[in-house]
Subunit: 81 residues, 2 copies
Amino acid sequence: MKANVYVTLKEEVLDPQGEAVRRALDSLGFAGVKKVRVGKLIEIDLDGSTSKDAETKLRAMCEKLLANPIVEDFDFELEAS
Amino acid sequence: MKANVYVTLKEEVLDPQGEAVRRALDSLGFAGVKKVRVGKLIEIDLDGSTSKDAETKLRAMCEKLLANPIVEDFDFELEAS
């Protein structure tokens, strides 16, 4: 079973990397880019389990390792393999 | 208009960061994690344009700045704001 985990900075946390990308896009001539935020996409390949089990496991993985709950939010999506 | 850009390492490129995450999950007791790949999720807020325009722009942004076409693939998704 495959899962995509999305880890993003919380809305209220500054994102200098995103701001740098926004400026770079601007200086490359891409007008109208109002905001850029850079997060992580973590693709995980899990050994067969039910989707309910997988969800519980993924939530625990995010809370314990993949995301920093102080400054980051997470979300995930399962795809049948 | 909001867009999510997904930048991932090409399948044939080694991902030491992903492998480190896999091992860390394993040593935290999460069994059955076969593979982990770490990529980027870039959230972009674009000034109003049609979705066709936005797609053309996003593709160009990915090709010129957001992804390194030698080792990375990209994909994006538009959401109406």
